[in-house]
Symmetry: C2
Subunit: 210 residues, 2 copies
């Protein structure tokens, strides 16, 4: 199937299904249903079956999905059945917090290098990594075969950093900066935006009780 | 309309529409279309029109949407046409990064208090706020009429913190910890999960070039 035919919004939901399946597996569950996954995510069972049908048949009518099998298949589809090396740009508070985040490895990612432009930070160690000069970005990207970068720099620096990443061959950027980035069409970007998370909840809150 | 009849996944998309509208407005655009919003988000125009139709009629056939009017209406629907006070739990690297994040105010949120259990952090200042003892959580929540908390503590502390937040009356939690939280049914939770963002992009990357 032509991958361009699958809507981006479907691809964006697959990681949520994957997270739910990992959780079910950790809880010792071996079989699940579109209904159960949907209940946990606030998505209809019909939507989940429709999304999965883009990629094939993963369960039998009436018996549900094998948790481990479906998880493996979705990992394969998203290409996270292998390890992706990331570079992290920014060694401030946010960069340090990202380096100590415990969820990357299981998701298929590892941070191979951290770079900053601040001379006071370059050469210092954070965990297992030594902060490198942003000037050595092309070498770091080539050395670790990096296609994905995490951007944790102030808004005012974000576009410059992203331009340098694109020049160095990066094809996917996860940005923590609260501003939209200008990127070539073949470079993917996702934003970590806490406001979107917060605004998804205020709808349900009773303002009378504030 | 019964708010329970609107699927959660629709509510979760409204903040994305809002972000796109704010961006269009900042770029000086006054009129937009479901097609344009959809192109920017990777969502079909049909989906956007269907989502908006849950809440009413916001545009005229053929003339599109007034950017500012639609933005105001979506703010009203999500109840972010007012300011919500947040408490932030955790004054480590992540907490400090969150406090310096520039996007909350425009989104309808302000951090009214930051609390930690670490005696070395309590009493120190971060920006305009003094880090308070987590023991004073009920007082902080009452004083600032808080319904929403941001959790930026290590995984090992997250559930304890969340239990205390629920006891103190918090009804919505934005968690940065990479572990699922057990919560009563009437408390909403959203997770900041960088892995979901990363996995939404690997699908499109060419592994041959790694």
């Amino acid at each position: 199937m032509n991958p361009l035919a699958i809507p981006e919004i479907v691809i964006r939901r697959i990681p949520l299904y994957l997270r739910t399946l990992a959780l079910l597996r950790e809880q010792g569950q071996t079989v699940t249903s579109s209904q159960e996954i949907g209940d946990r995510l606030g998505i209809s069972a019909t939507q989940i079956r429709k999304d999965l049908s883009y990629f094939g048949e993963f369960g039998k009518q009436g018996t549900g999905y094998d948790v481990r099998y479906l998880e493996e298949q979705l990992c394969r589809i998203l290409q996270v059945d292998r390890d992706w090396s990331l570079v992290l740009i920014g060694a401030g508070h946010l960069g340090k917090a990202i380096l100590s985040y415990g969820g990357f490895e299981e998701g298929g990612f590892s941070i191979a290098a951290v770079l900053d432009k601040d001379r006071r930070k370059i050469g210092s160690r954070i965990g297992d990594l030594e902060v490198q000069d942003i000037a050595s970005l092309p070498e770091a990207i080539a050395e670790h075969h990096v296609r994905i970068a995490v951007v944790a720099v102030p808004v005012s620096d974000a576009q410059d950093v992203v331009d340098a990443l694109v020049d160095a061959g990066v094809k996917a950027i996860l940005s923590y900066a609260p501003s939209p980035l200008a990127l070539p069409e073949d470079v993917h970007v996702e934003y970590i935006d806490p406001v979107v998370g917060l605004q998804s909840m205020t709808y349900y809150l009773d303002p009378l009780h504030r």
